[in-house]
């Protein structure tokens, strides 16, 4: 499904304080967001209570349900989608072990999802690992 074909549901505004999560719900090859949950965390540096959103997601082609916590303020002061892509890369990399994927930096700038090269590398690594089992 191309991003342009996806029309988010009415859940465009979420959380306390409210933030726009429309872009988060657009499914990508790197991740598919399943749910959001408003939480709070204690900031280690000063002990302040920080509102944060736990984003639960799956990674297409890989087993498991994962979560990442993204502070509410990050939705207006940073790029939550970058955090999602980076986390997807880490999960791809962990499943590919002991093979190692190309460095994430090569794929991060301007990328809207896990690149074809990264997916190919992950698939090759998975096949290599499977070959190790069967062999």
């Amino acid at each position: 499904m191309a991003d342009a074909d996806f029309v988010p549901s009415g859940a465009a505004i979420f959380g306390t304080p409210p933030v726009d999560v429309t872009a988060l719900y657009v499914p990508t090859p790197a991740y598919v967001v399943r749910s959001l949950s408003q939480e709070e965390r204690r900031r280690p540096t000063d002990g302040a209570i920080v509102p944060t959103i736990r984003v639960t997601f799956t990674v297409p082609g890989l087993p498991g349900v994962f979560s990442i916590i993204i502070d509410n303020y990050a939705f207006t002061h940073a790029d939550p989608l970058f955090y999602m892509r980076e986390r997807s890369y880490v999960i791809h990399g962990l499943y590919a072990l002991p093979a190692q994927l190309p460095p994430y930096e090569e794929y991060a700038p301007g990328d809207t999802g896990v690149s074809a090269a990264l997916l190919d590398a992950a698939e090759d690594a998975s096949l290599a690992a499977l070959g190790g089992v069967l062999g």
Partner: protein
Amino acid sequence: MPVNVISEGQQPNAAGDFIDVYQISYTVPPNPAPLTVNIPKSAGTQALQDAIAAINELTAFVEGVYALP
């Protein structure tokens, strides 16, 4: 050393605070039992190197145990 499944959990850090971790389950053929290492999610992409180090350490330990007379 195929990774079987990655799940999530929490464990206390040195300061006693609970932190989110990846729980990475893998097997080392021909040994039968799956092994699990916990890697802090906060490490970002460094988690991959942390996982390799943790897996190597645990694998070496377990293989040593299996080699016991």
